[in-house]
């Protein structure tokens, strides 16, 4: 049963976290030398007359004191308005709304593929520790963890082009609801690349938990009672090994929501990472602030979801 006091405390903590993130991002952005005018005009900003500069500062909304800018932005957020992009004049809400589904889908698909492969391979390795399949799987997981995403992503794109004359579709993003095949042609390959490290992490955790649980007294008892190997694995080993796997999956999923920028660059996907990267380069303050806030909200939500899952999986945690 849901503990409302616990949930309320978590929600309050989340709000404080989000406010902290907002203020930190706001301050850090403004301590970096240069502003939207410098980012936009480069050295040409040095050719502006004082009147031209004043006009542009007003245009970009950076002629007001920083606390007035911060207050205006927080007030806007409270009313659901994330502001307008300084670069293209579009609403930040619309920019986030178009890029968020890309990143969420990328993260979900990567997590699904990574978790499926990670658990299956982890059990495969853990069920026969020390055997060839174990060594092979562990070796593969080390390689998966060691290869940087940009190397793997570039290699996939290059091999597809060289060997199969194929390049993943980089046109307008096709939502899953419009065309499954069209969507997959854009999302599947980058998801596979992201899933490699994800699977490697899950595999290693699954294997170690599996080996540890398989040696537990209650497992020996269950086996002694004559339960089938499959039932022993599902009900007594995997179930107890699930909590660390869920924790790991939740944390990794959270990082994926804000950390897909390199893969989005390589596969030209218009996701949150690219939106944030471009906005930082352009000193597009409202977009950076809005994007970071949304990523932080998602991260907090994923953490909350993981905590809720703990309580469902392991009744002992409800007491605490």
């Amino acid at each position: 049963m849901l503990n409302w006091r616990w949930l309320g405390a978590r929600a309050l903590g989340a709000l404080i976290t989000l406010l902290g993130v907002t203020v930190v991002v706001f301050v850090v952005l403004r301590t970096i030398p240069g502003d939207a005018i410098t980012a936009s005009l480069g050295i040409e900003s040095g050719t502006l007359t004082p009147a031209q500069r004043a006009s542009l500062e007003h245009f970009y909304g950076i002629d007001r004191p920083w606390f007035a800018q911060l207050w205006a932005w927080i007030s806007g957020v409270a009313h659901g308005d994330l502001g307008l992009s300084l670069t293209n004049g579009k609403s930040v809400t619309s920019l986030v709304a178009s890029s968020l589904p890309v990143t969420v889908e990328l993260a979900v698909l990567s997590a699904l593929i990574g978790t499926a492969f990670g658990v299956v391979l982890g059990v495969l390795a853990g069920s026969r520790p020390g055997r060839a399949s174990d060594s092979l799987t562990q070796g593969a997981s080390l390689v998966g963890l060691a290869i940087p995403e940009f190397v793997l992503g570039t290699a996939v794109v290059t091999i597809l082009a060289e060997a199969f004359h194929y390049f993943p579709d980089t046109g307008t993003f096709v939502p899953l609801t419009r065309s499954v095949s069209g969507n997959m042609s854009q999302i599947l390959y980058p998801s596979l690349v992201l899933a490699v490290a994800f699977a490697a992490n899950v595999m290693r955790t699954t294997r170690s938990e599996y080996v540890e649980m398989a040696d537990a007294d209650y497992v020996r008892t269950a086996r002694g009672k004559g339960l089938s190997p499959g039932r022993v694995r599902r009900s007594h080993i995997l179930r107890n090994a699930t909590i660390p796997i869920v924790t790991l999956t939740g944390i990794q999923f959270g990082y994926l929501l804000g950390g897909t920028v390199i893969i989005e660059q390589i596969f030209a996907l218009p996701g949150m990472g690219r939106l944030l990267f471009t906005a930082i380069s352009n000193r597009d303050y409202p977009v950076v602030q809005g994007t970071v806030l949304v990523i932080a909200v998602l991260f907090v939500l994923v953490n909350l979801l993981v905590d809720l899952l703990y309580r469902m999986i392991d009744p002992r945690t409800r007491a605490s």
Binding site: T38, L41, S45, A51, S127, S133, V157, T158, T172, G230
Partner: protein
């Protein structure tokens, strides 16, 4: 003893195999899906140009990113334009005359031209556009280059007269830039400029999906003839290696890259050809002649003499490019070394010059280097560091991202700066703002020189080609003698041109105007 573990590994192996097979089949199907396959070829409906960056504005008067200039340069026209070799040619103006005192320019405009919204183009549009650029509230990029214009008259629909405060030969060149595009007077008065581009160029605005693509459509009413490309898409592919892969898979018709390393990987392929085009932009080590030892001309000359330009180019750009002197304008090509008291790379001579200047033990220079903006900056800096170390000049490299780099440079808060500077078809536009008295970038340029200022002023004051050639030849020589900076090389721009693309010709100024004649 190894504890017994539940059996069933076979079933899990089967599961693993099934999972792998499922993902493999899905990947194969994704590759076979219609939208996952390639774009239409140039003979089809869409011509796709892949490039790493997106446009950042829709107002040509404010555009500085070259992606924005490339795109809006196809939508808008200018009064006059340049040929690839830098000759002034008609665009919206069919002819022009300059008064004998050089203070009045009379333009005759093309008749029958319409804006992409269907309204007629007249001299009122030209007057409104130039006045908008000159208005300080606009923040227009080319204002400083057009500031000699004191009044614009539009006596009839096809005539425009510019009254200047002083003769300015560079003014015509300034009018050729995208930043001097002619906008509709109606859009200017309605305040809609920068919201939806409405030009008189070969392509009409269609759509902008920020961060993904810009789509233009061929303007059937273009006064220069309807382009063969009916639909033109600029697609943002942030990674140059991905652009190369896309070209190999024939996913794009044209790929724009700048990294010599990627160009080297491109090699030869059936799907495309690699075209190299020397750019007007030049690589340079700027010296702050207002600081420490660099105030001494002999010291600056010694640094200039110590640097083997070809070695910098070989190291940073795999030899792609051209060793250059200060002026890169194609019509003003002079010796890159005439004026230097040595042969570049002569370390012994450089050391003796430093000793003669009283710096035999050398000194250190804080050198700012921009990271992330262009591919060769780091390699150039390291090579210069290694070459100058031989004469005892230690470059302390300070790597900065664009914002901090630009801020430090504009504040002249540097001893030396590794830079890639834009060039121009007109030498005055290249150096007037750095080395004339009151030049808008005189402070960061690092040197006051009345000789340089006089030569620039003289070159800009006459339209006589012979006099301009003589003056700018002397300017180049004087720049090398005074050595405010060390000019190294002009790099190549790289174009991956699809094998089924015809008529595309790159330009030194990186504009894509030949797309109007490409099929």
């Amino acid at each position: 003893m190894t504890p017994p573990t539940p059996r069933g590994g076979v079933r899990f192996r089967t599961g693993a195999v099934a999972l792998t097979a499922t993902v493999t089949v899905a990947a194969g199907l994704a590759a076979c899906s219609p939208s996952g396959s390639q774009n239409s070829s140039s003979g089809g409906s869409t011509f796709v140009v892949a490039r790493t960056g997106d446009i950042d504005k829709l107002d040509p008067h404010l555009a500085t990113a070259f992606q924005t200039q490339q795109t809006l340069g196809l939508v808008y026209s200018t009064l006059v334009k340049t040929s690839p070799t830098g000759q002034i040619q008609p665009d919206l103006a069919t002819k022009w005359t300059t008064s004998s005192d050089g203070k009045t320019l009379d333009f005759t405009l093309r008749s029958g031209v319409t804006w992409q919204d269907g309204s007629p183009f007249t001299s009122k549009d030209v007057k409104a556009s130039i006045e908008r650029i000159l208005d300080q509230k606009t923040g227009a990029v080319s204002r400083s280059n057009l500031v000699a214009i004191k009044k614009v008259d539009a006596p009839d629909d096809t005539s425009v007269v510019l009254h200047l405060s002083q003769p300015s030969a560079s003014l015509l060149y300034s009018l050729t830039t995208v930043n001097s595009s002619i906008e509709s007077a109606k859009d200017i008065s309605a305040g809609t400029v920068g919201k939806k581009p409405n030009g008189t160029g070969a392509f009409a605005w269609n759509a902008w999906n920020p961060g993904q693509q810009v789509v233009l459509t061929g303007n059937a009413k273009y006064f220069g003839g309807a382009p063969k490309i009916k639909k033109l898409e600029f697609r943002v592919i942030p990674d140059e290696s991905s652009i190369l892969s896309g070209m190999k898979a024939s996913a794009f018709q044209l790929g724009l890259i700048s990294d010599p390393g990627v160009a080297r990987q491109a090699g030869k392929a059936d799907a495309y050809s690699l075209v190299k085009q020397p750019a007007l932009a030049y690589h340079v080590l700027m010296l702050n002649g207002r600081k420490g030892p660099l105030k001494n001309q002999q010291v600056r000359q010694a640094i200039s003499c110590a640097v083997d330009r070809n070695q910098v180019m070989q190291t940073a750009a795999y030899g792609d490019g051209t060793v250059t002197g200060p002026i890169t304008s194609p019509a003003f090509a002079y010796s890159p070394t005439d004026g230097l008291p040595c042969t570049p790379g002569d370390t012994a001579k450089a050391k003796s010059m430093l000793a003669a200047a009283g710096y035999a033990q050398g000194f250190s220079l804080t050198t700012i280097v921009e990271t992330g903006e262009y591919a060769t900056a780091g390699a150039e800096a390291q090579n210069l560091q290694s070459q100058l170390a031989k004469i005892g000049v230690k470059l302390t490299l300070k790597q900065l991202s664009t914002g901090p780099y630009v801020s430090a440079w504009l504040d002249a808060d540097y001893d030396a700066a590794v830079a890639l500077n834009g060039g121009s078809y007109d030498p005055f536009l290249m150096y007037g703002r750095y080395f004339t008295s009151g030049g808008s970038l005189a402070k960061p340029a690092g040197l006051n020189s009345s000789t340089l200022a006089d030569l620039l002023t003289q070159g800009n004051a006459t339209s006589d080609d012979g006099k301009r050639q003589g003056t700018f030849r002397n300017l180049q020589k004087e720049l090398l003698t005074e050595s405010p900076w060390v000019w190294t090389f002009r790099s190549d721009d790289y174009y991956l041109v699809g094998s089924n693309v015809h008529g595309f010709t790159p330009r030194p100024d990186e504009l894509l105007s030949s797309l109007t004649a490409t099929s």
